[in-house]
């Protein structure tokens, strides 16, 4: 019994150590990426390629998500409000939910899955096929060449992508409110414009840059730290998606909480 407890305690200690080392490693990796940020000028073509991949190629899934966001809020909240004779308030509910919370959150999760998976698997495959070692061996900084363009492209693309999600979410809400609740579009848009203050946009748009940095660094790091052949690429891809999504969920909550508390105080 004592031996079993000792074995568990050693395993736990090893696990904790490995978590701490990974976090330290991730911190150094992130610092190196920020220090190399100037390389984005040199690798502007890679930045454009990555912007196309994480921007244009992500559009279809983001637009589908945005359509469902606006529509679902109308279905769930609009009918509740209609019961109390307050369906004219539907636009307000949709506007605040979409702009401040749901649109950045859902778009963030979609981007974590799409961009995170791509970064982790692509860089993981490069790691196990020694292409990253080859870059270093022939004098190219792999962080400047591979991580910085992904980081900069995400940073540039996430704000317009989430802005587009906001717009599509609000429009889909307007159409569904008219079709399902027989709410005049003019009344819907009036209440949207009425409720949204600059601070609401600020809450919504403070999230994409944070998500961009987090998703890029986490997924690139999991790709770079891939070991163990093709099975390792699979594992690092899963890690890239899971950690990036967890980051999005946690940061979405804390950013809203901190900024809204600050506003209220």
């Amino acid at each position: 019994m004592w031996k079993l407890a000792q074995a568990y305690s050693t395993a736990l200690e090893e696990k904790l150590k490995s978590i701490v080392f990974s976090m330290q490693d991730f911190l150094f990796f992130s610092l190196r990426a920020f220090r190399a940020i100037g390389a984005s000028k040199r690798y502007w073509r890679d930045v454009l390629d990555q912007a196309y991949i994480c921007g244009t190629e992500s559009l279809p899934i983001l637009l589908v998500s945005a359509l469902s966001i606006g529509s679902l809020i109308v279905i769930e909240v609009g009918h509740q409000l209609a019961e109390f004779g307050a369906k004219t308030m539907t636009g307000r509910s949709v506007a605040l939910s979409v702009v401040r919370e749901i649109s950045p959150l859902v778009a963030g999760l979609m981007l974590a899955a799409r961009v995170g998976a791509r970064n982790s698997s692509e860089l993981g495959a490069m790691q196990i096929s020694e292409q990253i070692d080859a870059l270093r061996a022939f004098g190219t900084d792999p962080i400047a060449k591979l991580v910085v363009p992904r980081l900069v492209a995400s940073f540039l693309m996430f704000i317009p992508l989430i802005a587009l999600c906001d717009i599509v979410g609000l429009i889909s809400g307007a159409y569904l409110a008219e079709w399902d609740l027989h709410l005049d579009r003019g009344i819907y848009w009036n209440s949207v414009v009425d409720i949204l203050r600059p601070m609401d946009w600020f809450v919504g748009f403070s999230k994409p840059p944070v998500f961009a940095i987090g998703i890029s660094l986490i997924s690139c790091y999991t790709g770079f730290s891939t070991t163990g052949g093709t099975a390792g690429v699979g594992k690092s891809t899963i890690k890239g998606i899971v950690y990036s999504s967890a980051f999005v969920l946690i940061m979405n909550f804390y950013l809203s909480k901190v900024i809204l508390d600050f506003m209220r105080s």
């Binding site: 096929s129 020694e130 292409q131 070692d133 080859a134 270093r136 061996a137 022939f138 004098g139 190219t140 900084d141």
Partner: protein
């Protein structure tokens, strides 16, 4: 000249290399022989500064590079070319782009000079006519020759081969070994060859070091391997001859 002085390497509690001392002279071909997973490729990565030893020193032309930063290592790495076991070619680039990539990245050469160097390597590796092919559309032997061409593009003094004939058919293996022999004969290039194949050693190496359980247990000319009484070497020799 590359020198490893009392180099040890550990990953956690796992000991990979234990007190390794080796000298690789210019214009000579040194083979590092040993079974798979014994740390042979690690020695090449130590020579390039891709990994740092836990203790000991790595010297290139008398300069201790053990604690050099990536920037400081660049001129050192230019003296050495490396051919990775899996070639490490960039699969989205053509053969020409693979060969010229690092020249464009790191040296401010005129385009005509880059084209001339690529042409020179394509000719040397017998790859003329395949300039616009992607690596995936070539055979294993041809991919290896592209990797050799890429390694030679900086005109290095020494070239490091990680298992150059692993996974190749006998004809392709012979072509690669002939190419390595030509490099030494025609341009006086030194080489380190990491391998587990005994015939490769006898085909091209001037000297051989045998790595076993993280230690060098033999370091001499290949012919003397047969005089060794070490149980691992005798069993290795008899297994390979079978």
């Amino acid at each position: 000249m590359i020198e490893l002085r009392h180099v040890s390497l550990r990953y956690g509690t796992r000991e990979i290399l234990n007190d390794i001392s080796l000298t690789i002279e210019d214009k000579k071909v040194k083979a590092i022989l040993g079974p798979s997973g014994v740390g042979k490729s690690t020695i090449i990565k130590l020579m390039l500064g891709l990994i740092k030893p836990t203790s000991g020193q790595v010297l290139v032309d008398g300069v201790d590079i053990t604690h050099f930063s990536e920037v400081e290592l660049f001129p050192i790495r230019q003296k050495m070319g490396i051919v990775f076991q899996g070639n490490a070619l960039f699969d989205s680039m053509t053969i020409t782009e693979n060969m010229s990539f690092f020249l464009r990245e790191n040296l401010n050469l005129p385009e005509a000079e880059i084209e001339a160097r690529v042409k020179e390597q394509m000719k040397f590796a017998g790859l003329e006519g395949f300039e616009n092919y992607l690596p995936d559309s070539l055979s294993g032997g041809m991919r290896k020759r592209v990797a050799i061409g890429r390694a030679l593009i900086f005109h290095p003094k020494m070239i490091l081969f990680d298992e150059p004939t692993a996974g190749l058919d006998p004809v392709s293996s012979k072509k690669i070994l002939d190419l390595i022999a030509r490099l030494q004969r025609e341009i006086g290039l030194g080489a380190v060859i990491v391998t587990h194949i005994l015939s490769d050693v006898f085909a091209v190496a001037d000297s051989v070091a045998v790595l076993y359980q993280g230690r060098i247990i033999f370091n001499d000319v290949p012919q003397k391997l047969y005089e060794s009484t070490h149980s691992f070497i005798t069993s290795f020799l008899s297994n390979q001859e079978d």
